[in-house]
């Protein structure tokens, strides 16, 4: 499949593909499917943290869907007036940003106790994010196996040198739809990229192609509705919010790993926990506790604040705010433009257990 964003990338000697020499280097170095450091946590405490229930996710999903319906309906009612602009701005964030963390949590299967509830919301959120639910499930599984291991992790969002032009275009929502639709059409035609074929088992391919065909059919219906009504409104509700609402996801989500070490087996060194306000954590499903999530993916999103308290003695200090996180990240990204080997070294607290350093 063709990477339509390739012409926008800076050229670099670093190879992040999953089928290039970096893959072999990672395997030879013992970085693939390796044992990762985890802060020791008493089994009883961990069992309590891992405990599943439907209540929190039912509440949060109901609020999310209700807000989507409310702002969507309000947007339709106000269509044609300038009042629709702020309403769609909120709708866009609920759609193109909040759906990402729902996709993520449901993909892990930890948000609800009841499996089918996870699966239903997972498929819905995948559709909103224009993601093939089958392909992305396996992509994310690999991301957890080989987090920020070059040549193995398909979800390294800030490669070195940082693709800052692409980052700006992504934040403005310009690249999301062409790039994701191109992938979906490829899947609908029965094709996976070389990287995707590396981590999606062949037995899952027919399901991946079916999901893509369903998504493409729905998006085609939306385009048809726009043409029949000769209005952008149907696409403002379904499809376009993936573009105009994604900026928030990039602001809160990029700090997960940006500027940090590659090729280490310790999430304290390649992931970042950022303290955020309750409304932002609602939209982001507590994924700001990212070190904790990677260390213990079994812990549901609603228990991550408690897990944070349990392991914080053994982890680097969290960034106290989003502003602080970006103040740490931006200079590092700018420096990586000149020196792609540079990264932020996270300081472990005194007395913390040490693990493999980059």
């Amino acid at each position: 499949m063709i990477d339509i964003l390739a012409p926008l990338r800076f050229s670099s000697d670093r190879d992040y593909s999953l089928h290039g020499p970096a893959r072999e280097t990672a395997i030879e170095a013992g970085l693939a499917s390796a044992d990762w450091y985890r802060t020791p946590v008493d089994r009883k405490v961990m069992k309590e943290l891992m405990k599943r229930s439907d209540g929190p996710a039912l509440r949060d999903t109901a609020i999310w869907v209700a807000l989507l319906l409310l702002t969507g309906a309000l947007g339709v009612a106000l269509w044609g007036s300038w009042w629709a602009v702020p309403v769609f701005a909120v709708y866009g964030v609920l759609y193109g940003s909040a759906a990402d963390s729902r996709w993520h949590e449901m993909g892990h299967g930890t948000a609800f106790k009841t499996r089918w509830m996870n699966d239903v919301v997972y498929e819905f959120a995948s559709f909103l994010m224009m993601r093939n639910s089958v392909v992305w499930r396996w992509s994310h599984s690999r991301h957890h196996t080989d987090t920020i291991i070059v040549g193995r992790d398909p979800e390294i969002s800030m490669m070195r040198p940082p693709q800052l032009i692409l980052l700006v275009l992504k934040t403005l929502g310009i690249t999301a739809i062409p790039s994701e639709i191109a992938k979906l059409i490829g899947h609908a035609r029965g094709k996976l990229s070389e990287d995707e074929a590396d981590y999606v088992p062949q037995t899952e391919w027919p399901r991946a192609f079916l999901v893509a065909r369903i998504h493409v059919a729905i998006y085609a219906a939306v385009v048809l509705a726009c043409l029949i009504a000769w209005s952008l409104l149907p696409a403002m509700l379904i499809g376009l919010p993936r573009a105009y609402g994604v900026w928030f996801l990039i602001v809160v989500g990029l700090p997960q790993h940006a500027g940090l070490a590659e090729d280490v087996l310790d999430h304290r060194l390649n992931a970042r926990t950022v303290l955020m306000s309750a409304p932002v954590r609602f939209i982001y499903s507590n994924m700001n506790y990212h070190v904790e999530h990677h260390m213990f993916p079994m812990v549901p999103y609603h228990a991550l604040p408690r897990l944070h308290e349990v392991v914080r003695h053994d982890c680097p200090d969290p960034c106290p705010s989003l502003f602080a996180a970006w103040r740490e990240i931006l200079p590092a990204l700018l420096r990586q433009l000149r020196d792609p080997d540079y990264f932020i070294v996270k300081t472990l607290p005194h007395g913390a257990n040490q693990q493999a350093r980059p």
Binding site: S33, R43, M46, K47, M50, R52, H108, G109, T110, K113, R115, R137, W138, S141, H144, T145, P201, T203, E204, F296, P297, M298
Partner: protein, 104 residues
């Protein structure tokens, strides 16, 4: 049948599991909330992760790394990303010991 003594039945709390090595192979022994015992291979068939830190929910074991699930009664995969069944072994409890037929 050839039964191997793997551990004491009270080594495992109810609604939990332990993993232990025997003859260089890792096994998982489960003790359900209803008092039943089961045994399977101790590593997930997906990425060979030790299941010992996983979560037991009734008859489902969830892998601690990728959240794949198996039914501990027959090892059948019950949720992505696992596709291959976990090998299971017959268990019986005798005088407070967990005996497993590893040859089955």
């Amino acid at each position: 049948m050839n039964w191997t003594d793997l551990c004491a039945s009270d080594d495992i709390e109810a609604d939990d599991l332990i993993t232990l090595e025997h003859d260089g192979h890792l096994y998982a022994v489960y003790h359900t909330d209803s008092g039943e015992y089961f045994c399977s291979d101790g590593r997930c068939t997906h990425e060979q992760v030790d299941l010992g830190d996983g979560l037991l929910m009734d008859h489902l074991i969830e892998c601690p790394k990728h959240n794949g699930r198996f039914d501990i009664r027959d090892g059948s995969p019950k949720g992505a990303p696992v596709c291959v069944a976990l090998r299971t072994y017959p268990v019986r409890i005798e005088i407070g010991r967990v005996l497993v037929n590893l040859a089955s």
